[in-house]
């Protein structure tokens, strides 16, 4: 056992031992551990297998940047892939590595390593072509995916979302973030401070640096306590900012405390300003076999020792190009761990820095170029950077530090500029932005003093922007640490470039990068896409710059010119469940009319009828089929009395001096000549000449109209009208009020409708002279104030009785009760459809297709030629100049009278036609003719009336005769009766 728990120290609770299972084996750890620290603590080094070659891999980092060990939880907390470093240990936790079968330790697929030479970057584009890709695909898919597919969550509240507003959002509670928070909190601003760790302090948590005379973590604790006590500050642990959206909407993902049923909480934060203090991530160095278990980030070796009292190994060697590992070495020595050696590629290191690692052998101007060990690291091979004899050092841990990558993901997402800093050998934010300030490690401040100063200055600047005065605040004095770095991306001339990994999660090697370049994929975006480097779950937090460095080295270019790939949201993977809260049709409830309970009590089959209205489709009785039921309902309307719930139709009350003229503008026909209390059917076009809507409008006075629209288009029509009034014709005096849901109706229809209405009781004179077709009357029906309109969508005598919504249920029940002797039959939208097709009335959803205009629908009469202008007139005129044959509305009677299901079928002249001449817009079983009748749009259709056409119902062409588009009461005597 090489890793082990140190006898003292760490922030774990040694009194609480937690048992957990990993890859089927039982281990134990302590409260306060992460899965990663517990695995290392129990001496497990080979924790997982790699993606492509199934090489043994261990844990590399101690934070969200983990580029190697991803696991999935099983059991109650089943999850997709998570970095082991982010899983907090709980009692009974069960987890598996996402790679390695039957286990990570014994992975049968490891034989793939033998085929590695055949699998360079993008090898799959060059092979698997014969005989065809689909033969190989299923196997490859099974090999490739990581965690198993998720199963449905047990509880709906497993994942949640919250919204928040604040003056200042501080992302990261390390030294810079805390210093900034202190300033803005004291200034009295509303502050939200978030940090990805379980505890605030960031780098101070495992560093021995002192601030203001006390240990850094003590200072951090002090500031945190102060912030926690302030009423204007809210603190969030275990929280990552994952996206920066429009207008500074910052998205957060919070992993609540273990044991809480909520797995993740998404926060949408509207911050007026954001301070980005997300710190930086150490990056590894690339050389041959740099992936053996035991090879880690130097800072991670220290973090595990200091925070979790876990010695990652017994013999530790560091490999670096910068100063930070020397401090690491000292911090390890302070807790009794020994560092066997430091390999540094630089020729000289300052005396101060060297003395930090007193007692450690330092190999200056040397590089690690290979490692050995079977299932874990056993030693490294080093050589002078100028070449020369190599030597071996035995070790079981190699801590790497190739420099530090500021966490600029969020900054870059906001399209803010970044630049390459030569002195830090990394990318840093370039300048300040209005809504976001970067401070500390993520701004490239490598000195503690500098980081804290940046935090304080940023806080002060924001306070000033809010117009607040501040008392002078002196920054605490901090230990200073030199930081110098010499850019170094990978060992020189690696002979085993195929085993030098630049992206551990996707098994991308230096040779892959070189291959991409030699094949011409040398743009950084090409390198990424060709090799998939940086596209894995860790999004290349640790590795991306090494990829750019390798490309720059290979091309002999300046790394600043190579550039980086775009950072895209999210910065860390986020559960979908906390999203999907805005909008979404499925979340909006149905609308129903006040008589929906009655419909349901009558066994109605309820349908969605557009604009989220749910209304009855048909009312089956005693085991009737839908066909039988619809025929029964249709017969009732044609021969007796039906009742229909027409409430959802869009209704608008238009009022104002210019209303009549406005209707002349928006409808194709004339409304200004309409008499009071009379109605007219109108067709409304867009300015592109396409049909927008249709409906009947009644005139209620000189300046007042009641407009009805189709159910589905009510909102579109309203927006169209309002835009015209506000933008195009602002001088017109027209006010529009939507009254759809204020007035609801019971529509009674059928030859007995007049008698029935008399029976129901009304003070309105119902005689045909006094109350003709297309008129509206105000009065009382069944004692209720009502507006009764004579419109008809069925072709029968019909009264639409409108009452205020609160009275509808009462009216409806009264109508049903008083009309029993007429055998009043409720009819649904299915029956309405049959009746309107028989009558040849057009319906927007069926007969309006593409460029069809009123002339095509046989309603040329509706296109007023008297008017100078109306919306759509010009476009229709232009369109009609096209030589393309027009498709016109016709009736169709199939030779086979039983052929009903032909809706949508193309119309052709011969079965081998390559082009359709039209199509069947609607087809129903006619109760009047006891056979199928259909409507269709047919090229030059009106001229073809009396002839025939083929309905191409898939492989089955059916002959049909072309008729007038009306199968019932063509002169309209019944609806006018």
């Amino acid at each position: 056992m090489s890793g082990s728990r140190l006898p003292t120290g760490g922030k774990i609770d040694r009194d609480r031992t937690l048992a957990f299972q990993y890859n089927g084996q039982t281990h134990s750890g302590f409260a306060g551990d992460t899965l990663a620290s517990a695995l290392l603590g129990s001496g497990l080094r080979l924790a997982t297998r790699s993606y492509k070659y199934h090489r043994p891999r261990g844990i590399v980092s101690s934070g969200i940047e983990e580029p190697s060990c991803h696991v999935h939880l099983t059991g109650d907390n089943a999850s997709g892939s998570e970095p082991a470093t982010r899983v907090e240990l709980t009692d009974g936790l069960t987890a598996r590595s996402v790679r390695g079968w039957p286990s990570a330790s014994l992975d049968l697929a490891a034989c793939l390593q033998l085929a590695a030479p055949l699998m360079p970057a993008a090898f799959y584009y060059k092979t698997f072509q014969w005989p065809n890709w689909q033969l190989f695909e299923p196997t490859i898919r099974k090999l490739a995916g990581l965690a198993p597919a998720p199963v449905e969550a047990r509880q709906l509240d497993d994942l949640k979302a919250r919204n928040w507003h604040c003056d200042v959002l501080i992302v990261g509670a390390g030294p810079a973030g805390l210093a900034a928070a202190q300033v803005v909190a004291e200034a009295g601003l509303d502050v939200l401070v978030v940090d990805q760790e379980t505890e605030f302090g960031g780098s101070l948590l495992s560093s021995s640096q002192r601030i203001g005379g006390v240990a850094g973590h003590v200072w951090a604790k002090g500031v945190t306590d102060m912030l926690a006590a302030a009423r204007n500050v809210r603190l969030l642990h275990r929280t990552v900012a994952w996206a920066c959206r429009e207008h500074n909407l910052i998205m957060l993902a919070e992993h609540p405390v273990p044991g809480c049923r909520v797995q993740q909480r998404v926060w949408r934060v509207r911050a007026r300003t954001t301070i980005l203090a997300a710190g930086s991530h150490e990056r590894p160095i690339v050389f041959a076999n740099n992936d053996r278990p035991g090879i880690m980030l130097a800072s991670a070796v220290r973090d595990y020792a200091v925070r979790y009292a876990v010695a990652a190994g017994r013999q530790i060697v560091f490999f670096t190009n910068n100063d930070s590992v020397y401090h690491c070495a000292r911090e390890l020595q302070e807790i009794g761990m020994k560092v066997a050696g430091i390999v540094d590629v630089r020729w000289a290191v300052s005396h101060d820095v060297l003395t930090q690692a007193r007692g450690t052998t330092v190999h200056l101007a040397h590089e690690v170029f290979d490692t050995r060990g079977r299932r874990g690291l056993a030693g490294v091979r080093i050589r002078p950077v100028t070449g020369g004899r190599s030597t071996r050092i035995s070790c079981d841990v190699l801590g790497l530090s190739g420099g530090w990558n500021p966490a600029i993901q969020l900054w870059s997402q906001c399209r803010l500029p970044v630049r390459y800093s030569d002195s830090l050998a990394t990318l840093v934010p370039d300048g300040k932005a209005a809504d976001m300030l970067a401070v500390g490690g993520c701004n490239g401040a490598m000195q503690l003093q500098e980081a804290i100063q940046e935090g304080i200055s940023a806080g002060a600047e924001i306070a000033r922007r809010f117009g607040l005065s501040l008392k002078q605040m002196d920054p605490p004095v901090c230990d200073s640490r030199r930081f110098t770095i010499q850019p170094y991306w990978h060992s020189r001339n690696p002979s085993k470039a195929d085993k030098a990994f630049v992206d551990l999660l996707h098994d991308v090697t230096l040779r892959d990068i070189h291959l991409a370049i030699s094949e011409g994929f040398s743009e950084i975006e090409h390198v990424k896409r060709y090799t998939t480097a940086g596209m894995a779950l860790d999004q290349g937090r640790t590795g991306n710059l090494n990829v750019a460095g390798a490309v720059a080295t290979r091309l002999g270019k300046d790394i600043a010119k190579v550039g980086t790939t775009t950072f895209r949201p999210p910065t860390v993977p986020v559960h979908f469940a906390g999203l999907g809260q805005f909008g979404g049709l499925g979340q909006l409830p149905y609308r129903t009319t006040p008589v929906a309970p009655w419909h349901i009590s009558q066994n109605a089959v309820m349908y969605e009828a557009g604009a989220r209205w749910r209304r009855p489709g048909y009312y089956p009785r005693n085991g009737e089929s839908m066909h039988e039921c619809v025929c029964r309902e249709a017969n009732a309307v044609r021969n007796g009395l039906g009742i229909y719930d027409g409430g959802p139709l869009g209704t608008f009350d238009l009022n104002g001096r210019d209303t009549a003229g406005f209707l002349d503008l928006v409808y194709t026909n004339v409304f200004s000549t309409l008499e009071d209390y009379r109605g007219r059917y109108g067709l409304m076009l867009g300015d592109d000449g396409l049909i927008l809507d249709d409906g009947v409008s009644f005139r209620l006075g000189r300046d007042r109209f009641l407009m009805s629209t189709s159910t589905a288009n009510a909102q579109t029509v309203q927006r169209h009208l309002e835009r015209l009034l506000a933008v195009d014709y602002p001088s017109l005096d027209v006010k529009i009020v939507e009254v759809t849901s204020m007035w609801m109706n019971a529509t009674i229809c059928g030859p007995f409708a007049r008698e029935a209405l008399e029976e129901i009781g009304t003070d309105i004179d119902l005689s045909n002279n006094a109350f003709p077709f297309m008129a509206i009357r105000f009065g009382r029906v069944a004692g209720i104030e009502a507006r009764v309109a004579r419109v008809s969508f069925t072709g029968e005598l019909s009264y639409e009785i409108n009452v205020r919504s609160r009275h509808l249920a009462k009216l409806w029940n009264h109508v049903i009760e008083s009309c029993r002797r007429f055998d009043i039959t409720p009819v649904g939208s299915e029956t309405n459809h049959v009746l309107r097709v028989e009558k040849g009335f057009m319906s927007l959803g069926h007969e309006v297709d593409g460029t069809v205009d009123a002339h095509d629908l046989g309603m040329g009469w509706i296109m007023s030629s008297k008017k100078q202008d109306y919306i759509g007139k010009r476009a229709v005129m232009i369109r009609r100049q096209s030589p393309r044959p027009r498709r016109q509305l016709v009736g169709l009677l199939t030779k086979d009278p039983e052929a009903v299901d032909i809706e949508g079928a193309p119309l052709v002249d011969s079965p081998v036609d390559e082009r359709s001449r039209g199509f069947v817009t609607a087809s129903v079983w006619s109760v009047v003719h006891n056979r199928s009748v259909a409507l269709g749009l047919l090229e030059d259709g009106r001229r073809r009336i009396g002839g025939s056409v083929l309905v191409r119902e898939c492989s089955n062409p059916i002959e049909a005769s072309v008729t007038q588009p009306c199968f019932y009461d063509p002169d309209g005597s019944r609806l006018r009766s």
């Binding site: 584009y125 965690a147 979404g584 959803g845 593409g850």
Partner: protein, 418 residues
């Protein structure tokens, strides 16, 4: 063609040399001052056009000018779905041909595009949508394309992860439609394969060469383009720049009937195979498939407002996610891995434009609302037009002149964009 043959044996042979002997997929050149044909935009359509010009019509002295990198346009940002379930006589044969060409492309270009005829299933939740899709079914049958209705239980059998939208829910599933010809493939590979093949035929591809404006001579004909390397002359210039078509055409004084939209797509973390078909949910506005790597690649509705961002507004994004979770509640436990936005330009009727323009010598391929699937046929048709001056039979309706008479080929608003 002058290029390495790719096969398992090439790989094996090259393994010995550590793959050091493979030639670049395409070469780098200094831009010349004059070409016969300039194609602006090295995305899918631009590269395909160049390839077909050179391979089918013997075109020589052709250059493709690209602002960024090869394949960096919408071909890098889409949901890789290839399908032909359209509504119009003018559209179906074109898209069906494109789908067929895709199927043969791996062989033709000697590049594994990972083309996989996965089949698409539309999950239908409203009767108007079902009516419209069945109308497609019947007209597609006429054109020899397959599209079939299946029952709800069959939909659920073929997509076991579909556990939402049950009977009694807000929008229960009422039917499914199966489009057998639908396929997915690897988008980057499509761009690279065309680039490699075009290069081998002598087409020059210039990356990092942004065309800042078009140059029109005194007779109103195109004479070349402006770049940072100066003017590059050509008698024929073709624009294949998607969301930037409108702005670039404007530099030649040309107004085009196009609107630019931002469309989102995103991928989940990779998981083991969970769905084998392409899933389209037109009523809730989302669609997805699973890549060979295991990621779910998911697309949704566009943001109605104009945007040139590479991300999408949170509310638009969440609208798509909520649709997805409505049908696939278990995906709530899956994580979002990457997200991006692409810019597409849409003509008033939703159909494409492959045509010459009123500026002599200037050609345009635009209005690609889900144009990924159209890359092979779109490239072929534009190439024919540039080379011969005559429209390809399949694209003869996709003209600009149709807008002079408002002769729309209405495909807009009839389905979710895929």
């Amino acid at each position: 063609m002058n290029m390495d043959r790719y096969s398992f044996w090439t790989l094996a042979r090259n393994a010995v040399s550590g793959h050091r002997k493979l030639r670049p997929a395409w070469r780098r050149h200094q831009p010349k001052s004059k070409y016969d044909v300039l194609i602006v935009g090295a995305g899918g359509h631009g590269l395909a056009t160049a390839y077909y010009l050179a391979s089918r019509f013997g075109g020589r002295n052709i250059a493709v000018l690209e602002r960024g990198w090869v394949g960096g346009g919408n071909v890098a940002r889409n949901t890789v779905t290839v399908r032909s379930n359209y509504l119009r006589d003018e559209s179906i044969p074109f898209f069906a041909r494109s789908v067929r060409m895709f199927g043969e492309l791996s062989r033709e270009l000697n590049y594994n595009l990972m083309h996989s005829r996965r089949t698409m299933i539309d999950i239908v939740q409203t009767s108007p949508k079902l009516r419209e899709l069945k109308r497609r079914m019947k007209i597609m049958d006429m054109h020899g394309s397959s599209y079939e209705e299946i029952s709800v239980s069959e939909v659920r059998r073929r997509i076991p992860a579909l556990t939402g939208a049950r009977e009694g829910s807000r929008l229960p599933i009422i039917a499914g439609m199966v489009h057998k010809d639908a396929a997915v493939n690897r988008h980057d590979a499509v761009a690279w394969a065309y680039a490699r093949a075009a290069d081998s035929l002598g087409v020059e591809i210039h990356q990092n060469t942004e065309v800042t404006s078009l140059v029109v001579d005194s007779s109103g004909r195109i004479s070349g383009v402006e770049t940072k390397f100066g003017t590059i002359s050509a008698r024929k210039v073709a624009l294949a720049v998607s969301g930037h078509t409108f702005m670039l055409a404007r530099t030649a004084g040309l107004g085009l009937p196009l609107r630019t939209f931002n469309l989102t797509a995103f991928v989940s973390e990779p998981i083991k195979p969970v769905v084998d078909v392409v899933v389209n949910c037109p009523d809730l506005g989302c669609y997805f498939s699973q890549t060979a790597r295991g990621e779910l690649i998911i697309g949704g509705h566009p943001d109605p407002g104009l945007s040139y961002r590479r991300d999408i507004k949170q509310n638009v994004f969440e609208g798509t996610v909520s649709g997805l979770l409505e049908l696939f509640p278990s995906f709530g436990r899956l994580k979002l891995l990457r997200q991006w936005g692409g810019h597409l330009d849409i003509a008033p009727d939703g159909s494409p434009i492959i045509d010459r323009t009123s500026v002599g010598g200037l050609f345009v391929t635009a209005g690609w609302w889900g144009g990924y699937k159209a890359i092979p046929a779109g490239g072929l048709c534009l190439a024919k037009l540039i080379a011969t001056g005559e429209h390809h039979r399949l694209a003869s309706s996709f003209t600009l002149a149709r807008f002079d008479r408002l002769d729309y080929i209405m495909e807009a608003g009839t389905t979710t964009v895929v």
